[in-house]
Amino acid sequence: MIGQDGLWTKTFRYLTCLVLVIWLVLPLIPLAIWSFARGWFFPDILPRFWTLDAWDYAMSDTSGVLDSLWLTIGISLAATALSILIGVPAGRALGMYKFRGKEVVEMMILAPMIVPGIAVALGIHSVFIWLGLTNTVQGVILVHLIPTLPYMTLVMAGIFSNYDPAFEAQARSLGASPLKTFWYVTLPAILPGIIVGGLFAFLVSWSQYILTLLIGGGRVLTLPLLLFNFATSGRNDITGAIGMIYILPGILILLLTAKQLLGRSAAVGGFGRL
């Protein structure tokens, strides 16, 4: 920010922050309270009895929450890794080169963000049956790429449009092999984009419900599926406890990367700014 902002601008900024905090944080409070409540009925403002029963159950082997947690982490990490592997070269092509049909490719990549996921998933379902990928973890990981790839690719396209490939030519000329050029020159320049895009991809995969349900056929029980089961069965206390576990990665990632996300460094990245 250059110069002094006016009082109105400042006030408006604080108000916006406040509204956002209320909007995002307030709904979580009843969830947290539920997880420690034994019954919580209208018109009580707070539950009459407090207990750790819901947490005991959530952490027990019988609930399957911990198994589900590890499974979900595994699936999201795998989907993120694949997104990076595909999204980095794709983003490079889109950000750096002009080629025939580029607009069509861009539309295709963006399509999953526009077309309802369930429509896409129904189409993919029949293909996956044919490939024997339904009801498998691999199938779920693959189908998660539909919503994660656009984020990864678009972030990387932004990074690469600010990137000067002459740095790579310079490294080659100085004696670096293609692999070393990538490691010492390209990677440091695009790492902020990989981190931001990867976090997006992880969180998008983490929150998939429909796609997991459809392709996993209820056999691949990720945390959102488990959460939904308890929510529909009316166990608000256990739902609250699992809900708390479920939002943990989001909060952790936010805390770890707040500086990166808020600062301009990560979002822009690349050599172009130097």
Partner: protein
């Protein structure tokens, strides 16, 4: 010490209607400093990138000491290119930048440290090793880029517009540095420039490239004295071109009969003479004297440019400002064209 031979190099870009390089040939003697001179888009940087292995030619060959290098990867060519905008790696310190080439060659760290120190001394930046490139001035960055290339002791050093990003006073210092480094190391050096002055001051030989074609490849003074064609002469500031006929050592044209130097070609041609070789005042011999109308006087500080007409012919002269005093626009000016300053282009 490496002899570079460029043979019939042609480069067609897809979609381009004429070749960026058109059968360009050039023999560069071992240990010399050669300028590839030309306006932007003439193909000089393309030539350099092909030598460096960063572009593939459509046809033709590049040989180092007689051995074709087109199949070698850029990292194995022994030709190191220094880009116009320095391209220092921003995530590395100055010392890491300079040592990059040695690190890629798996030189041991102690040795790298020692040679980086030597190189930084050589480019006169001894204490800046720990800095980030972004903390350096443009001139310092350029010197670091030079050190980073020289440290690997390349067979051929390629400099892309090494002087164009620098202010005038830095530019003179950089010219001296490049010249002295080149003479100390004896590395065959090719540099690209669009500035004829840089080419003339710095290079042993100058290759003028216009529209992808080699126009003339000689020592610098030849471009002033013996340009091969009008475009070449114009690129070097030639202004005076008169068509006519050369016969028996005399050129017949709108300027009258002018006596040519010995050995001038005969037949239809274009006469050219440098504006700075036009003399004010008639010569006593009576040969090659003209009288012209003064159309415009442009004072340039250390010189004065006169625009004159002889009949319909426009000519330009560059003279000493004190000599030009006293001539006003519209005056008749006596001129002399020494026959040694005349050159006929066929």
């Amino acid at each position: 010490m490496t002899h570079v031979s460029i043979q019939h190099l042609t480069k067609l870009y897809p979609g381009g209607d004429h070749p960026a390089l058109d059968r360009l040939s050039l023999e560069i003697e071992s240990g010399t400093l050669t300028a590839l001179l030309g306006p932007s888009g003439c193909g000089k940087t393309t030539t350099m990138k092909i030598i460096a292995g960063l572009l593939e030619p459509s046809s033709g060959d590049v040989r180092f000491d007689g051995r074709s290098i087109l199949r070698e990867k850029p990292e194995n060519r022994g030709a190191v290119m220094v880009f116009q905008n320095h391209l220092l790696f921003p995530y590395m310190s100055v010392a890491e930048n300079v040592g990059f080439g040695l690190k890629m060659r798996k030189t041991n760290p102690a040795e790298i440290k020692r040679r980086v120190g030597e190189m930084l001394d050589l480019v006169r930046l001894p204490d800046l090793g720990e800095r980030r490139p972004s903390a350096l001035s443009g001139g310092q960055q350029q010197r670091v880029a030079l050190a980073r290339a020289l440290i690997v002791q390349p067979e051929v050093l390629l400099l892309d517009e090494p002087l164009s990003n620098l202010d005038t006073h830095l530019r003179f210092g950089m010219r001296d540095l490049i010249r002295s480094l080149q003479q100390e190391t004896g590395i065959t050096t090719i540099f690209v420039t669009h500035d004829q002055e840089d080419a003339v001051v710095l290079a042993d030989r100058v290759a003028l490239i216009l529209d992808g074609q080699m126009k003339q490849y000689e020592t610098a003074d030849a471009f002033y004295k013996r340009p091969v064609d009008e475009a070449t002469a114009r690129f070097f500031g030639g202004r005076n071109f008169v068509s006519g006929t050369s016969a028996d050592g005399v050129f017949d044209s709108a300027l009258g009969r002018l006596v040519l130097p010995l050995g001038a070609i005969a037949g239809q041609g274009t006469l050219t003479f440098r504006p700075e070789n036009v003399r004010l005042g008639h010569a006593p011999s009576g040969e090659n004297n003209l009288t012209a109308d003064l159309i415009e006087v442009i004072y340039l500080g250390t010189q004065t440019r006169l625009k004159l007409s002889v009949g319909d012919m426009l000519i330009e002269a560059i003279v000493n400002p004190t000599d030009a005093e006293g001539y006003r626009v519209g005056a008749l000016v006596p001129l002399h064209l020494p026959s040694g300053a005349l050159w006929v282009i066929s």
